[in-house]
Subunit: 132 residues, 2 copies
Amino acid sequence: MLKITRKVEYALIALRHLKGKQDGELATAKEIAEQYGIPQELLAKALQQLAREHVIEAVKGPSGGYKLVTDPNSINMTKFFEIMEGPMGIMDCYFDSGCEQLNACNIRTPINRINDSIRSMFDKMTLADITY
Amino acid sequence: MLKITRKVEYALIALRHLKGKQDGELATAKEIAEQYGIPQELLAKALQQLAREHVIEAVKGPSGGYKLVTDPNSINMTKFFEIMEGPMGIMDCYFDSGCEQLNACNIRTPINRINDSIRSMFDKMTLADITY
DNA sequence: TTATACCCGACAAATTTAGTCGTAAATAAT
DNA sequence: ATTATTTACGACTAAATTTGTCGGGTATAA
């Protein structure tokens, strides 16, 4: 409960790694996977997602790899989590209205308050804070 | 990711329900399960855990049930979550040192910071806030 | 004695997460 | 051109976790 997934973990590791690179220097999925002992294929998926959202940029072919193209200060953690995993909420009823008990439910309001607190906390935290 | 479990959800529903009772009035697992349309057996387990930790008290036998015996103001959400699910941390390495990559890992410090932020947020939030 | 209600561990089903594989496309180097 | 390297991506399997069920127990009020 309240755990982040491996994919998010791997994405953070990769971003932190990329941030350490000079200028236009690239890092490959293989390089990162080996350095941190994580499964390359899974890491690759995380990197591809980040590339699709233009957080990083992919360069194909030999001597290709990835590099940061967005200032980590400009991406807050709510956005980052949602890039990696879709809508963030501690309960599905926060965004999915398919709950059968909505009328009987006696904890909707408090649940929403917890949600909002978590979101607002992550809103104020940027990728730069995390990958400093 | 970052989701609370059903058990926690059911515990919150039950606590909120118990809080609405007068004085020494009891509520049974069956009554709660039916009213909110949730599986009785699973709810029962949540209630039993709360009883073991003396958040509520169980009365056996016919006309038995549960009642609150601890002021919800005195239980913060960190404690509540840990009663229900054990140690709270967004990654296992927060409390479990069995990680192979500890030395290579480049995100330990930031992960710990996120953890601490979440914990401190839940430290300041009590069951009373949630079941008002 | 009986019916009701909590207690609890073991099990099974369902869902989610983690990891793998095969194939394709781009491209630098030879 | 061919080859080697690297990203892209969907399909698949495996593992782990969560969710739900079952059976047998204890306590106790009526």
